[in-house]
């Protein structure tokens, strides 16, 4: 029981970071980028390949994954950030579809549908970390550092500029801000943190295949950020925790195996719709004195 709870906590730690990274570009800057999962996947694959082919361990992999994702995001941003609203949403959703096709077919790099196996767990300076509580502790430290950095970004002049761009991009441009560059930076930073989350996932799960890019993952991510409240630092954390808890309900209340997945999705659908109806800014507004 404790082991399972620990594994759930480890995953929640990773997902919270992923949601928070999405919160930067989607929540703060207002880029409705449905392809955020691509960077989680690229980070995961970077770590998996570096580990299995070049023997690199978790710490360098986290950094390299962040750098790789940042670079890819810069190119991705140049290609897509001219688009707005729904055009951006569908183009980036399409990019995620392309990612799954490439990951499935590029056998030499990703081992295709067979997936990458035999990835090492976290090894810190030749010290192998095997106990789940130790992994959780390590991940809490890494994710905590990332979260702290993101918190600082949220409350920096850069963060306020992002919020201004979301509210009125033309006005921000009028006062002399290069909004295209700011949006690209937001995307790059956001993707780099997603890459770190992906690399953590790889070194915990020890197996990776192309389904990491699939549509259900994208919807899961949207669910976590929307339910908590996009654009609010604490909202992303609340949303992730809430979604994880609700997702576990069917498993623990004796639903038949064959409909666990389906009943979970119905719960998620209900959660998403009621949130939109009654708290469209997210459930964090239930706790905050005034909605920010």
């Amino acid at each position: 029981m404790l082991e399972y709870l620990l594994s759930l906590l480890i995953l929640t730690t990773i997902w919270t970071l992923l949601t928070q990274s999405y919160n930067l570009s989607f929540g703060l800057t207002g880029l409705f980028n449905l392809g955020h999962i691509i960077f989680y996947g690229i980070g995961a694959y970077t770590a998996a390949i570096l580990n299995t082919d070049y023997g690199l361990q978790i710490l360098p992999n986290l950094i390299i994954a962040a750098v790789v994702c940042g670079i890819v995001a810069a190119i991705f941003g140049l290609l897509t950030l001219r688009l707005s609203g729904h055009y951006l949403a569908i183009a980036t959703l399409g990019a995620a579809m392309i990612a799954i096709v490439v990951a499935t077919n590029w056998m030499d790099l990703t081992n295709g549908p067979l997936g990458i196996r035999g990835i090492d767990g976290p090894i810190l300076f030749d010290l192998q970390i095997t106990e789940s509580w130790q992994i959780l502790l390590l991940f809490l430290v890494i994710a905590g550092l990332c979260q702290w950095t993101l918190y600082k970004i949220f409350h920096s002049p850069f963060g306020r500029l992002q919020r201004a761009i979301q509210d009125d991009e033309i006005a921000a441009r009028a006062v002399g801000k290069n909004t295209f560059l700011s949006k690209t930076w937001s995307l790059v930073l956001s993707s780099a943190f997603a890459g770190i989350a992906g690399a953590m996932y790889t070194h915990y799960r020890l197996f990776l295949d192309p389904t990491i890019f699939a549509l259900p993952e994208i919807i899961f991510l949207i669910l976590m950020i929307i339910v908590g409240g996009r654009g609010n630092f604490w909202g992303a954390i609340l949303g992730t925790i809430l979604v994880v808890i609700i997702g576990e309900i069917p498993r623990f209340f004796g639903f038949p195996d064959s409909i666990i997945g389906a009943s979970r999705n119905i719960l998620f659908a209900a959660l998403l719709i009621t949130t939109m109806f009654y708290r469209p800014k997210g459930l964090f507004t239930l706790f905050a004195k005034k909605a920010t």
């Binding site: 549908p113 067979l114 020890l206």
Partner: protein
């Protein structure tokens, strides 16, 4: 505001913790008179046809074992989890079985991807992963605690490749799904077939093969090798092939040999195209025939795949035998007993495992005669 937030968060966490414990406890310690093992099968999605059948066969066999005295007086029980035919869901399922249910043996997975996804988890926890259906060649090296009673597809691809050589095919078109199972079969076929291969692949999410078939027809191969992961895909392929007037020989992996609708619907078409498929089957065996009758009486239909029914029966049988003679808590002892097993008399004859945990069964060739499959003389 922040403080209040954390307070709420902590309160919530406590709530879950206590909640979980309350729910989890009842199923807890009755280990005295029960041996509980886990099971991973696909219960939803395209792969459910194998999963539900494997679950039914194993459950019925376990029920029979328990009625006739169990294992040294203890009842055997399987906790099933849905692996959805994907590595990721199977690894989550394995995590739950290993960590929450504390099982020492997991029966499964069914799809090769499930076994491969679960293996890293079970290996780390020294838990036996015992598949009766997974056939991917990759499973051979999946781990020290991984065993299977179904043969590796390397033998399936090999017999089909040799058949294509012997039939004098110079070019064979290969319509193949992008999954671990199908990639495994295709790889073994490519290694053994001497002629030219025209390969068309598709993702599991696709079901429109019209253009691929048009292209294959234009390249005028001597035969077509259908290599899907699941029966529904096989059926769609047949439908679209017939609509486009395919008239060359067809060979197929074992998916086509199941007791499935597709074969009856397209019986004439398949007979005219001389469908030849690779399969592994038990010699005529009264234990198997009687079991199939009991299965039909209980579930209302015959098991879809007689070969996997047989390998699952053997799988449960071997586990029973091993658990009778070994401490069910000591997985290393169970592993060693499995490797040492030499004389198990099962549906498939005398079974033994090699040093990789693979069983000594191979595939043979079968031709479809319009109603059933006949074994081809080699």
């Amino acid at each position: 505001m922040t403080k209040k937030f954390i307070a709420y968060g902590l309160g919530l966490c406590t709530l879950i913790l206590t909640g979980c414990q309350n729910v989890a406890n009842p199923s807890g310690n009755n280990a005295e008179d029960t041996i509980t093992i886990g099971g991973i099968v696909p219960l939803t999605g395209d792969g459910a046809v194998y999963g539900v059948m494997t679950q039914n066969v194993a459950n019925l066999r376990v029920e029979e074992i328990n009625e006739s005295g169990g294992i040294n007086g203890k009842k055997l029980e399987i906790i099933w989890e849905d692996g959805k035919c994907t590595p990721k869901d199977a690894s989550l399922a394995a995590q739950k079985l290993v960590n929450i249910d504390k099982v020492n043996i997991i029966f499964g997975g069914t799809c090769s991807g499930e076994t491969l996804g679960a293996a890293p988890i079970t290996e780390k926890a020294n838990v036996i992963l015992f598949s009766s259906v997974s056939t991917s060649p990759e499973v051979t090296n999946a781990g020290d605690f991984v065993f299977r009673t179904a043969p590796s597809d390397s033998s399936q691809g090999k017999v089909l490749g040799n058949y294509a050589n012997k039939s004098g095919f110079n070019t064979v078109a290969l319509l193949s799904e992008q999954t671990d199972y199908a990639v495994g079969v295709a790889g073994a076929f490519k290694d053994n077939f001497d002629g030219e291969i025209i390969e068309e692949t598709y993702l599991s999410t696709e079901s429109d093969f019209k253009t691929r078939i048009t292209k294959i027809k234009a390249s005028d191969p001597d035969a077509l090798f259908l290599n899907p992961q699941t029966p529904p895909k096989f059926e769609i392929m047949l439908k679209q092939l017939q609509e486009q007037g395919w008239d060359k020989p067809i060979i197929s992996n074992e998916i086509s040999t199941g007791n499935i609708d597709a074969r009856t619907k397209y019986a004439d078409f398949l007979k005219e195209r001389g469908l030849v498929a690779a399969n592994f089957v038990a010699p005529d065996n009264s234990e198997l025939t009687q079991f199939v009758e009991r299965y039909e009486a209980k579930f209302g239909n015959k098991p879809e795949y007689i070969n996997y029914t047989a390998s699952t029966l053997d799988g449960v049988g071997i586990l029973k035998r091993v658990l009778e003679n070994t401490d069910s808590e000591n997985t290393e002892a169970i592993r060693d007993t499995l490797y040492a097993l030499q004389d198990y008399e099962g549906v498939f004859g005398t079974l033994a495992f090699d040093q990789n945990g693979d069983v000594n069964i191979t595939h043979s060739l079968f031709r479809f005669n319009g109603e059933d499959f006949e074994r081809l003389e080699e």
